[in-house]
Symmetry: C2
Subunit: 756 residues, 2 copies
């Protein structure tokens, strides 16, 4: 009863919030009166959309091309015949792949039936759905037992939900083609029990705030919209009625199943998205979760326009698309924050959906058209038509990725991700919250890119998604033992222990806070964040700047990590570079035998390939990667150690990449400061064999001052030009005036930092 | 006196040989009567060429573009002012780079003066030449002492020669602009002593058959042609008169300085090129040597047409260009045989020269125009004009690289390189001779490419050419301790010792022999070669086939290595794959601590990352690289060991790449057979996360028969189709008929192999 009340409250709240959008809403309402409930298709493709598309066909190149590709694909499948095998395999295995293929083909065949008005596609959909009907009613739980929530067609409910999200669309497209009797048969024996299995029968999967649940909610909601089943629609929006789960239970990934009782599609929008549209698990999972969010939202917009779903939480769904596009590098690859597989990009189908929907239901940003053009594909529905017409009419403009700060947390108060961009350089500074069960213990870590290539990498996940030979395509154990650990990231590890002691319970209750983000001056862009509880008694404040200065060939990175601690600790600070060691200004020894650096918390996976005593003042390291030169200059003293490490120890199945790092180790320190510059400079051509500007432009980096209030750094170039950067460590508000004397020289400025 | 006589003999021989080309020659003679000796330019750009070019300017896009680029480059240099610093540095250092830049700019400014008829370029050339004149006469030997033949402007005579090859062209272009007095000054104080220093004063550099000497010969000859100095021209063509060097001396690379007394440009064409145009050091050095061969040949053709230089040795210079282009992968990168730096490609400037000259002075192959178009640049001379006109007139056709066998040795009798191509697959099988001082001890080794990407790599050299931070940009010591050693290559190492005991003296006296090369049937292409003396008492016969069969998705490799030995040995057989281990069908153990595999002959550089006992029958290994799947299936028994290794042990300066290999080890065997298939199959998309055809198509590989006469292999697919490949081990002539019964089944065929 209690839960029920809160549902009512949410509904009332929705009406109140959106009443200000009345004009829009009433307009849409008018449409919906004409088109919904009776008429099909209505869910994604609409009856009006079908009319418009048919009128333009042959005259909208990118749409025509997308249609042709889909037609060819589906024709091949129709030719090959229907196969609905008895479920047997994990991801990557035959039955898994076949059912997955079927859901895509069904959805596409449905679209083709509507757009091309060719019955063969409707018949194909009907015939396959009937085979699913015949199979489904005989199915027990899937025979593979690894999942916390087993499906019936697939080993996990998640994939069953994927299936239903797509197949709902197919059913909508052939709805009117089917007889009432056929519909009754499908709804009674297939769709309704299918929706029940992934929801009421699998609450541990369904009744959560989690990307899995979003798929479940969308699946149940979309079939509900097609079937006009209010119970399913409400279950989708608000979760399973009258159900309260054990708040202490955990899933396979170590996340709580349902700690605070929230569930349903709206809660799933509410919780993981920050007001800026950042999704708390990071872009890789956002991309995955995006599709059900948007496709169900589109369905709700079309069938239940009174919900004004695209205005929900101040339009966060459309904002999230913009955030996601900004979380990609120059090639469109998403930054692999948390558990993210490298190579996933905005060329993914979910992003075609996202871009088209954002364009159509948002404010027709012409930048989106340039991405759609790169994707070279549009949805075969109303939004795809809008994009195709936009491109055809030459409205396209470049999608200009700028520096951006994205807050994290439902209210934007749990840290965030700051991205600094200058020319080809991109700094991705992660000061976000734990990121749900897919989060890594990497507070204040970063990665650095140049023109889409990694300079300093984030490892990403330890998994080969859908490659059956590697642990069934699922998370490998090294994801926990390596990829999530702090030492796997470009941040400080204290006493060889991960942040929050590697414990999800602690991690999810804490987060860094933004100190300042300043990009008004595009020559000096700075992001600064502090975190308190990664280690008891230790505080870290990290300030990272991308500086474009006339005395440098390219922008360079200045990194200031200020550690304050009550106790003496060992701090390890790795730099996961790529490529070939060129030169160091310190002497190092390479052991003949390689041993692991430690025994746990990720250290067991690092081999030590070189050991050095750091230099007094500065230690410098240069390397070559992808025919570009890089130099790192860091403030050290004689007590610091520098290690060359390589990933791969205690990795008996070669699950990890054998990537190198340079690791700066400072022992027995309480308060300390790490100051480092990283330059990209020059290039090498293997064709002309010429090495241009192959040396660092920095002759020294020096700490002029480091107090509770300020940290001042002096950078001297090889031509003896000096640059001073001062960051305000406490009061960094824009309007604050600072005055400071260092070595007899006065510095006065307003705002967060000084640079000259 | 003896040497002098042999010179005369060569000259007479030339006249005899080329008299059959009279028509051509007399035509050119007519031209030369008009244009040579008196008129300048005459060397590369000709007076007639200048007229033709000026007439077409603005109407020949690729030429106009090339001209514009050169003009912009030179204008920047003129603006910046002349700098002729006192020589000081090794390669990569400032004075080296500056003088190198100067030679290019001088040559280009000369061309611009002629083509644009703008005196500012002539003045610039004159001014800089005068500065060189002033400097050169004061110069002692270059202060850096590492070279066996120190230059004056550069640390080695080689670079001094490079300078003169280019600057001769500049001098020719401004010849008529200068007063006689100016010319006298330059010739007396700069060019003549310069030519003498790199020849008579540095015979250990000049008087050899070696790519260094070719540069020296060309330099002396080209300035001789411009100055009309017969003594220099003869010294260029035939070497230093009356000079005999100590035949036992060696250079820095371990090659003999001059073992057989041959020298001069003609001898340098004679010796290193096979009749097929293969250059004995391999494509990387051919590319480097190419420029002086071709540019001096062009000069000789223009000024001394009676030599018919392009017909010399049955037109081997132009043939060699075709060979070189065929020694590149799908991206145009040269195969890194012997000491070759990866990434060198036909985009190199020397290849612009080669392609343009080959087109103009050869038979106007339209395939060359497509490469010129990719190069997007032509020479600013008569040949560049011809190419530009060809492209403009739409004559271009694709340059179709097919399977090709290139013999090695002056008479084509010292082994060779066989390249098998089918669809995207390229096998580079090296059965060449030692390859001079840049050769590797890698008889019967190979590398495998797919669409320009390495599947099984050849390591190449251990050097970072012109990157000063790495050993001054010169060969690193790991080139000898690793890159040249047999274990660094994809062939058999016996008893942990390199071929020919790693001794150049033995290696250069031996070579493998072609057994057969068969590409008539493009579905089954085979190359087979045997070698006798890599180890005393051991013979190896390797037969490699690229097979395209209807039961396979793509062509696959079948590799049969037959070893015959009088003694029991250990054989090591590595596969230098790239990427991530996916699966093995054998159990392996990974040591927690990594130790080197051995102590010498390259073994000291390999870490052991995994150890397995091989399977009975077949051992299978699958990996993922660049989103493609690969599987290796090899015939083994329980006594075989399989090791996972990684390069990088005893490499204290990180000079080597940390690349992996799978190493098959067979102990205590006399005669033995290694049979392996390598398949490329399917692909992985990180965007759709789908793994297509990720598993091997081969269920077993079996040796049906292995005798002195025949080796028969049965390959069975996972769908139980069997394929039989039989190779004739002794008599493999095309016309020979074979009949054979294996397990009661009769096989009859004609020719080298059977496949069905």
């Amino acid at each position: 009863m209690k839960i029920n009340q809160s549902f009512s409250f949410v509904v009332i709240f929705l009406f109140l919030t959106f009443s200000c959008k009345k004009e829009n809403a009433s307009e849409t309402n008018t449409k919906s009166e004409l088109s919904t409930s009776q008429e099909h298709p209505k869910l994604i493709l609409t009856a009006q959309g079908v009319k418009d598309i048919r009128a333009q066909l042959g005259n909208i190149p990118i749409f025509d091309k997308s249609l042709q590709a889909v037609k060819e694909e589906v024709d091949v499948e129709i030719e090959a015949g229907i196969d609905v095998p008895v479920p047997k395999d994990y991801s990557g295995g035959y039955t898994h792949s076949r059912h997955k293929k079927n859901w895509f083909v069904l959805q596409k065949a449905g679209l083709l039936y509507q757009i091309l008005d060719d019955e063969k596609y409707a018949k194909y959909v009907k015939d396959m759905l009937m085979q699913y009907e015949a199979l489904y009613k005989t199915l027990p739980l899937h025979p593979k037992t690894r999942s916390y929530a087993r499906g019936k067609l697939f080993w996990q409910c998640l994939n069953d939900s994927n299936w239903l999200v797509y197949v709902s669309q197919a059913y909508d497209c052939v709805y009117n083609y089917l007889t009432e009797e056929e519909r009754h048969k499908l709804e009674t024996n297939l769709f309704k029990p299918f929706a029940d299995h992934i929801s009421v029968d699998s609450p541990q999967f369904y009744q959560r705030v989690h990307n899995h649940s979003t798929w479940g909610n969308a699946a149940v909601g979309m079939i509900g919209l097609v079937m006009d089943d209010e119970e399913l629609i409400n279950r989708a929006l608000y979760g399973i009625k009258d159900l309260k789960l054990d708040a202490t239970k955990k899933d396979d990934d170590g996340g709580y199943l349902n700690k605070d009782g929230k569930a349903g599609f709206l809660a799933n929008i509410e919780e993981p998205f920050s007001p800026d549209g950042y999704y708390n698990e990071g872009p890789y999972y956002q991309r995955y979760a995006m599709y059900p969010f948007l496709i169900f939202a589109e369905g709700l917009h079309n069938v239940k326009p009174e919900l004004n779903i695209f205005d929900y939480k101040e339009g966060v769904l459309l904002k999230s698309i913009n955030a996601l596009l900004n979380l990609s590098d120059a090639d469109g690859d998403f930054f692999p924050l948390n558990d993210g597989q490298k190579g996933m990009s905005y060329y993914n189908g979910a992003l075609v959906t996202a871009v088209d929907i954002s364009y159509h239901f948002g404010d027709q940003d012409p930048g989106l058209l340039s991405i759609a053009k790169q994707q070279d594909k549009v949805l075969l529905d109303d939004s795809g038509l809008a994009v195709a017409l936009g491109i055809k009419n030459g409205k396209e403009k470049p999608f200009d990725k700028k520096s951006i700060n994205l807050s994290d947390g439902p209210e934007g108060k749990q840290g965030g991700v700051g991205i600094l961009r200058n020319q080809d350089l991109e700094l991705v500074f992660k000061y976000a919250s734990q990121g749900s069960s897919h989060g890594h213990y990497d507070k204040l870590s970063y990665s650095l890119y140049e023109n889409g290539e990694e300079i300093i990498q984030d490892y990403g996940l330890a998994r080969f998604v859908n490659i059956e030979q590697k642990g069934g395509g699922n998370y490998l154990k090294e994801n926990k033992t390596w990829a999530k650990q702090t030492i796997a990231h470009n941040t400080v590890t204290q006493n060889e222990t991960s942040h929050y002691n590697g414990k999800y319970e602690i991690g999810s209750q804490n987060h860094p806070d933004l100190h300042y983000f300043s990009t008004d001056n595009d020559k000096v862009q700075v992001v600064s964040s502090e975190v308190k509880n990664t280690y008891p008694g230790t505080e870290m404040l990290r300030t990272m700047a991308i500086i474009k200065d006339e005395d440098f060939e390219k922008p360079f990175l200045l990194d200031i990590m200020k550690v304050t601690s009550a106790s003496a600790n060992q701090y390890d600070f790795p730099y996961y570079y790529f490529g070939q060691v060129l030169q160091t200004n310190f002497e190092y020894k390479s052991p003949e035998i390689l041993k692991p650096l430690g025994t746990k918390n990720g250290y067991q996976h690092l081999y030590v390939e070189g050991v050095a005593k750091a230099n007094k003042d500065n230690s410098k390291f240069s390397w070559l990667n992808n025919n570009k030169f890089y130099s790192l200059t860091t403030v050290t003293d004689n007590n610091d150690e520098i290690l060359f490490t390589r990933i791969g120890a205690n990795d008996p199945e070669f699950n990890l990449r054998r990537d190198p790092s340079l690791l700066l180790r400072r022992k027995n320190s309480k308060n300390t400061l790490f100051v480092t510059t990283i330059e990209s400079h020059g290039n090498y051509s293997p064709v002309t064999e010429s090495a241009l500007n192959s040396k660092s432009n920095i002759s020294s980096v020096k700490v002029l001052l480091d107090t509770k209030l300020y940290t001042a750094i002096e950078i001297t170039t090889i031509n003896d030009k000096t640059k001073i950067f001062i960051t305000a460590n406490t009061n960094a508000l824009k309007e604050v005036k600072h005055a400071l004397t260092i070595n007899g020289k006065n510095y006065e400025w307003s705002g967060s930092y000084y640079f000259k």
